[in-house]
């Protein structure tokens, strides 16, 4: 019995001592974790549960003049597949319908998705990419697909969000809207409006101390250094989406037609300098076009004949000629130090007025005017051009503006050829936007405006207003202005004018063509075709420049053939969407006018309607329909033939032949 008790006690001591050793061990570990290595673990714990988050602000949106989105920050999604969490049964059951749904949605073969999913399952991948960078609408479709609709655990779908800058116009005005990013040196780089107004759009980062709570969420903690993020401002641009669309597609069609290297079009509002549309398209090696570079802003090149306007203004201002002065075009050839100036018309234009020199775009004519007036004092010519502000950049908000070149006798490379060459636009260099601004100044009664891209909201009526920036209040005298305006109108509206082919019956266009040689020092001479002008000529609303570089010469290269039709199409579009305001009339007059517009005479006897011949079909159609006729027509235009009336008990049918 005693032995038993002793044995029991020994056992008890043994167990107790083990427990004590264990307790001491645990105690030591607690002491170690708490005090010896306490600091280290406390830091790790803090890092895992408390973090200072940098909160990036929402970047501002870019709007067009009518409030359409040009750029907006949004969320896009990447979709991954966790092949481990999906059971084999479900995988085998849904692999085919899922692959089929994916192949239909993403326009790829079914086998592509099927094989990719099988590979992921075989190699037990937990993060297998399915699609990247998809929109919310596409994601919603994916969420409804077989297997994926079972969710994250059963269906194995993993969805990851990421911030995305959406450009709703896609390829249209891509280079003008631009982009911005931070490079490895932490400097913002980019192009277009996104970069030009980056300071406004970016906003300011905020910071917030957060503690991790359940559900993977973080809760904000009070912190004296806390900073709220400041969201970026929205900017309202002057770009008009509708016009931009027309400009883009018209330029694209013309570039494709003439297989040109690149081209640009800019439309500017005359009174404010607001840029309503700007399109720049460059050709890829496959012959496709996209917004490669902002040629209108950055590409400074010899303007060719469009510079004759500047030369003519100088000559008129310095009283070298007036518009009726007779100029001898010297059989179309002038020689300077062995180099020849030629007219595009062989044999020249004979003796013509200064106005006709401009109208026919005579090279020899304009060179004769300028050399006659300035050969003894070429400095005067350059100074005159400088006074008009042609040697200055426009100081555009968009980065990368090309530097204008206007040679001056003080320049080292000035030669005897400089003056005659400058007269018809060689040796000088301007960007399309600089040339357009100058032409816009003519339309705007001499006031040279800076091209602007931003609208501002008027605080009173909330309407968009453009703050115009005047670069030169008057580039020349009123007399010169009215003379060159007539010259520009004659180019389009008078027979023989270089752009007579784009004359419109609806409204007057004023402008100047340009066909400038490039690479003239090489064997293969190429051309730049230009048309620049404004419309309607009697009350200018818009000015526009079209520049097309290196068209296929076999298809055409003259400014009036290649560039001017683009101008006309845009002008027609703008004209047709601007309603003509008719003077106020009384309601009774309106009724009288409408009812009297087309008079139809119906003689009951022979069921015949008279007075239709020669009438416009569109005027007659509603009247006939109102009389209960079912109208059928053949051809287009005016009514030329008598019509037949087929009458039955249900309806009266008319067949009309048109010219």
């Amino acid at each position: 019995m005693l032995t038993n008790q002793k044995q029991f006690l020994y056992r008890l001591y043994f167990v107790a001592s083990i427990l004590v050793v264990l307790a001491l061990g645990i105690g030591y570990r607690i002491f170690d974790i708490q005090f010896l290595e306490g600091e280290k673990y406390r830091t790790i714990a803090k890092e895992k549960t408390i973090k200072n988050f940098i909160i990036t602000p929402k970047r501002g949106n870019i709007y067009s003049d009518d409030g359409s989105l040009l750029a907006s920050s949004t969320t896009n999604y990447d979709v991954y597949f966790d092949a481990v969490t999906v059971t084999n049964k479900n995988f085998n059951k849904y692999i085919n319908p899922l692959s089929e749904a994916l192949s239909i949605r993403f326009n790829k073969p079914l086998s592509f998705f099927k094989q990719s999913l099988i590979d992921a399952k075989k190699s037990n991948k937990r993060y297998h990419p399915i699609v990247r960078n998809i929109s919310i609408n596409t994601l919603n479709h994916i969420k409804k697909m077989p297997l994926f609709k079972m969710g994250g655990i059963k269906g194995g779908v993993i969805i990851e969000k990421k911030n995305f800058r959406e450009y709703p116009l896609d390829k249209i005005a891509e280079r003008t809207v631009g982009y911005e990013r931070i490079n490895e040196k932490n400097i913002y780089v980019g192009v277009g409006l996104e970069h030009a107004y980056g300071d406004l759009l970016r906003g300011k980062n905020g910071s917030q101390l957060m503690q991790k709570i359940s559900n993977g969420k973080w809760k904000p903690l009070a912190n004296p250094n806390q900073r709220e993020p400041k969201p970026g401002l929205d900017i309202m641009t002057t770009i008009n989406v509708g016009l931009q669309d027309i400009t883009h597609h018209t330029l694209l069609a013309q570039l494709e037609k003439f297989e040109a290297d690149h081209g640009s079009v800019v439309v500017m509002e005359t009174k404010t300098g607001a840029i309503k549309a700007i399109s720049n398209l460059g050709r890829t090696s496959e012959g496709k076009y996209y917004e490669k570079l902002n040629y209108a802003v950055g590409e400074s090149h010899e303007p060719g004949s469009t510079f004759k306007l500047m030369a003519m203004i100088a000559a008129l201002e310095d009283n070298i000629v007036d518009s009726s002065t007779i100029i001898d075009t010297k059989d179309g050839i002038l020689s300077f130090y062995g180099s020849k100036v030629r007219d595009s018309k062989k044999g020249g234009y004979g003796k013509i007025t200064a106005k006709e020199v401009f109208k026919f775009s005579s090279n020899t004519g304009i060179v004769d005017i300028i050399t006659r007036g300035y050969s003894k004092n070429p400095e005067k010519f350059s100074d005159r051009l400088y006074n008009m502000g042609l040697n200055n950049t426009l100081n555009l908000s968009i980065k990368g503006e090309g530097i204008p070149i206007i040679p001056h006798p003080k320049d080292k490379n000035w030669s005897g050829l400089s003056l005659p060459w400058m007269a018809y636009g060689y040796g000088v260099s301007l960007t399309p936007l600089q040339t357009l601004s100058f032409y816009n100044a003519i339309a705007n009664d001499g006031e040279l405006l800076k091209p602007v891209f931003l609208n501002k909201k008027n605080s009173n009526n909330k309407k968009n207003v453009v703050n115009k920036v005047v670069l030169n209040p008057s580039i020349c005298s009123k007399e010169t202005l009215s003379e060159v305006k007539l010259m520009m109108e004659s180019v389009v509206n008078e027979k023989g004018g270089t752009a007579y082919n784009i004359k419109s019956d609806e409204f007057k266009i004023a402008g100047k063509t340009g066909t400038c040689q490039v690479d003239y020092n090489k064997d293969n001479v190429q051309y730049i075709s230009t048309f620049v002008g404004y419309f309607p000529a009697d009350n200018p609303k818009y000015s526009c420049i079209v520049v097309i570089h290196k068209p296929n010469k076999s298809k055409g290269y003259y400014g009036n053939i290649v560039a001017a039709p683009v101008f006309k199409r845009i002008a027609e579009k703008l004209y047709s969407i601007t309603p003509k305001l008719k003077s106020k009339i009384l309601e009774e007059d309106l009724i009288k006018k409408t009812t009297n517009k087309v008079q139809l005479k119906i003689t009951n006897k022979r069921n015949k309607i008279e007075n239709l011949k020669g009438k416009n079909f569109h005027d007659v159609l509603p009247m006939l329909e109102n009389l209960g006729f079912n109208v059928e027509h053949k051809g287009k235009g005016l009514i030329i033939k008598k019509f037949t009336i087929v009458k039955n008990s249900i309806n009266k049918k008319i067949v009309i032949e048109l010219s």
Partner: protein
Amino acid sequence: MNKINKIILGNFLIEEGSLKNWKLVTFLFIMAIIMIFSSHYIDKKIILIGDLKNDVSVLESEFVENRKSVMKLKMESNVASAMKERGIKSFNKPPKKIIVN
């Protein structure tokens, strides 16, 4: 040691005049409950705010996506190509705006 023993044995809850101690205990208990409740309540709100923020970003994305498609649909080039099959072209002459008194 004696005092500690008394606290451990809970004498302060049963001896004479223990009512005021009970009041304090009850007060501390209620405070603790309120603290736990409010902490959970805040956590719940934060989770809700997180979910709502997520909803807002989804709705914003949907808005931009839908607005983009509407913009594309109403672009003239798009309408023109759709109408081409039906032989309808855009008119070159402007509409006339008549103001009737």
